[in-house]
Symmetry: C2
Subunit: 508 residues, 2 copies
């Protein structure tokens, strides 16, 4: 393999956070807007989100949920109904105080028409949805109530990063009501599994399912579960959460029902969500030093066809041939839908054109010029191998095998990500080893550190606070399969006996 420059500078090793921004720019996914902390999601980035939405929405509907839409605004008094909840969100919410602008003394427009009660732009919708649910739920016959909303959310974040943490973001929030604790717990875990399944099978992103500690819970929840993924800088991305809310919000919003035994009871509720943050996860799990790498199941395009024109003489012939191949490919089914294929006829020089598509992460590129036409071949490159590598295939064979090739790419992306996760997750038994593991190897690159630690730990908020301060490390989750080990172990900090192992890591 010859030496070459990478398409993205800096590389992941040189400066991971900066590499991330450059990939977004090179793939034309999004950009910052003039509105503080808000991003603009550009067409290529938005179509990835549309694909995520489509696949998740299908899974939500298959599990019996229906979509609805609730108000953007939440009256201040609603937010105040649940004490922990308002505590968690009051510090970062956009407040609407007026309902018009009018000419001020200096001629400029000033806010006017002050509202009697300020409205908060939803940072999440438990309280406003709860107010509606209290009307909708009267009898056990109305349960379970399984609702989902796709919406925009505003949280006034001080430090923002595109897709990962922005003032406004897009998400879905599921909100459900159940007659019993048991059913609500089942729903909470069911949706956690729906998320994990989607992320592993569609995003090719392996995740760890687990419970959050008390200090990392959603404000107002009894239990929060999350799915955590490892990015290529070995930091954790909390990719989705599912909350068992017990009766907290039912009591705050007065969601009661007449049960079969004719007694009036408070219901049990859940909520669960994932957001445009997932696009950030996709970038950081699969991207390489040449840009974005998209898992075929979520890519806006599966195959991009690049006509090769040694000179203009062949233009019509090559374009027509490319169109024919596009037409044939578009009849092939992959992942239950026809292949998405594009012929790039733009007048950009061939080299730049190829690199544009490399940077955008399209799974398969094929080049077709007079030589290929003569031999009835296509020159095929897959995005999960170095950009210079390619192979010549007979046209018919390539078309027939395109779905197999895509499946192979999808699987190899998953395998690589799983290898990263396994290789960088270490079992650790002493505090000394723990501190050593999380101390940066290279002082100039504090992002690249050990990875995840799996260790026996007895929950203790003081210790959690200390390692957060010392190392910027937190407990990502208590993996479901490690909550109650057969073998008892010793907490790595206190030596106290416990059956519970947890995952520690630095997090986005």
């Amino acid at each position: 393999m010859k030496n070459r420059k990478n398409a993205i500078s800096p590389t992941r090793n040189e400066d991971y956070p900066e590499w991330y921004q450059e990939v977004i720019k090179a793939a034309d996914l999004a950009e910052n807007s003039p509105v503080r902390g808000c991003m603009v999601i550009k067409p290529w980035g938005f179509s990835i989100w549309e694909n995520i939405k489509k696949e998740l929405d299908k899974r939500f509907k298959e599990t019996g949920h229906q979509n609805a839409y609730f108000p953007l605004f939440i009256p201040k008094s609603f937010l105040e109904k649940e004490a922990e909840h308002v505590e968690g969100f009051a510090k970062e919410c956009a407040v609407v105080t007026h309902h018009r602008l009018e000419k001020g003394k200096d001629g400029g427009l000033v806010p006017a028409g002050e509202l009697e009660e300020p409205l908060v732009v939803r940072p999440t919708s438990e309280t406003i949805i709860g107010a509606m649910f209290s009307k909708w739920v009267q009898s056990y016959r109305d349960l379970p109530l399984l609702i989902n909303q796709w919406a925009n959310i505003v949280r006034w974040e001080m430090r923002t990063r595109m897709f990962l943490r922005t003032t406004e973001f897009l998400w879905q929030e599921g909100h459900t009501v159940h007659a019993t604790e048991k059913e609500a717990m089942e729903e909470t875990l069911k949706m956690l599994n729906v998320y994990a399944d989607f992320m592993e099978s569609d995003m090719a992103m392996p995740v760890i399912k687990g419970r959050k500690t008390e200090s990392e819970k959603f404000p107002g929840a009894d239990i929060t579960y999350s799915v955590e993924a490892m990015m290529q800088d070995r930091k954790a991305l909390q990719s989705g959460t599912s909350h068992y809310l017990g009766q907290n919000f039912a009591k705050a919003s007065d969601i009661k029902f007449l049960d079969r035994d004719e007694k009036l009871k408070y219901a049990y509720t859940t909520s669960w969500g994932v957001s445009t943050r997932l696009v950030g996860g996709l970038i950081m799990v699969h991207g390489d030093d040449d840009g974005l790498v998209l898992p075929p199941k979520l890519s806006p395009l599966h195959v991009v066809i690049l006509p090769v024109l040694p000179n203009n003489k062949f233009k019509n012939k090559v374009f027509e041939h490319c169109d024919r191949i596009k037409k044939q490919l578009s009849k092939i089914i992959y992942n239950n839908s026809p292949l998405k294929v594009f012929v790039d006829k733009s007048e950009i020089p061939g080299g730049r054109k190829k690199w544009d598509w490399v940077k955008k992460g399209v799974p398969i590129r094929i080049e077709i010029g007079p030589k290929e036409i003569e031999k009835d071949e296509v020159t095929v490159s897959r995005r999960d191998t170095p950009a210079q590598e390619n192979s010549s295939l007979k046209t018919g064979k390539f078309i027939k095998n395109a779905p197999t090739l895509l499946t192979s790419i999808q699987n190899s992306l998953y395998d690589n990500a799983l290898r990263l996760l396994k290789y960088n997750t270490k079992e650790i038994k002493s505090k000394e080893d723990f501190y050593d593991f999380f101390t940066p190897r290279n002082i100039e690159k504090p992002e690249i550190h050990g990875g995840f630690v799996l260790a026996y730990f007895k929950e203790d908020e003081e210790i959690e606070k200390k390692i957060q301060e010392d190392l910027n490390v937190s407990i990502r989750c208590i993996p479901l399969e490690e909550e109650n080990n057969k073998e008892e172990g010793k907490c790595l900090f206190t030596g106290k006996p416990t059956r519970q192992k947890v995952i520690f890591g630095k997090a986005y």
Copy 2:
């Protein structure tokens, strides 16, 4: 036909506005929320909107548009860039002035963290999108730029009505940039036609395409086109608009490009939108005194199967038979997708169950009981005929012909709506006849009046103001096909010669 009570009270004739609210309630489409002027769109209503979205989105993509997402918030200074624009929206916008809540003197939470510049919750996005476009557009090679956004919008309306006029609503807004006036005009009219085609073929709602007069234009547009439909109370619903913005917003947002002739020029822009208001249109065009009537192409369900159980002995047998028929129907293709079928096994009494589905407007209901099973028949009712009417059909024949039946329902809804429009649109030649036409026949029902007037009219803002005050009548549009008639006529108010006929009507 025996005498019977209608499912909706009051009927359309008794009290049309109240009938409208009752249909929404009976079909469980939406309800008011505790947030002033904001509604909650419930699952049945939302799935109609999802179908509208899906069909329109397909058409937008087929015409070369891409989806993107822009910030919810617009800095006040952006809104002020276009003088007419800010004039039009300043009076009704939600203003964010603070970014957190904190404990006040009396212990309650008060807005804190005042923003340097207030933010407006988008009432439309020309200005914020324009700011991004000015970065994206540099050369003629970047044009045309064809973008669409699905988003929520806030306009602080004083008098709201569900779906038709709410403080927050959902919509799409297309925003495009072109090198020439000609191309921008073509785009404006192309999207007007996309709307009209969708409304006629999918919503079964005939529309009149036309240009708005100066006084009814979008604030900041050079020309506004609209599609206008007639509701069953003969009032007009402006159902969609398409704006030719000339260079107004290009100048306000500094959207310039280097043209082929190497000169730097301002671009030409367009914008166009439809909203959840369309759901209100569907209700008012097709609904009857038994509730909602859905055009098959947009109905969340095509066929609802109602098991008939004379007693519990037959329950399993009937349910299994119904499931089999559902399975067979679900393989049938209608409008390019499999039929959407539901078996209602709920324990609601049969009569109420049937009426629930009548009120929800499902195009086809079939009843299946032991008698039908024995004869291998189904009892079929179509929603566009009175609820008591039905016919028995052999099961196989019904299944095979279901798409034909749906097409027949779709067509009959369109034909009825077209008949209403034609029958209640009158050509009028004098002011006296005009005033007579718009004077309510029945003083207690001011909503039911003449309908639309088509007449020669020479644009005159004073006259427009006068008829608005006298009769609450406005010029809905200047129909495209009436802008330049071969025959010259006399303006019905002034007698001045003009080739232009306009549509007058009362409007939502």
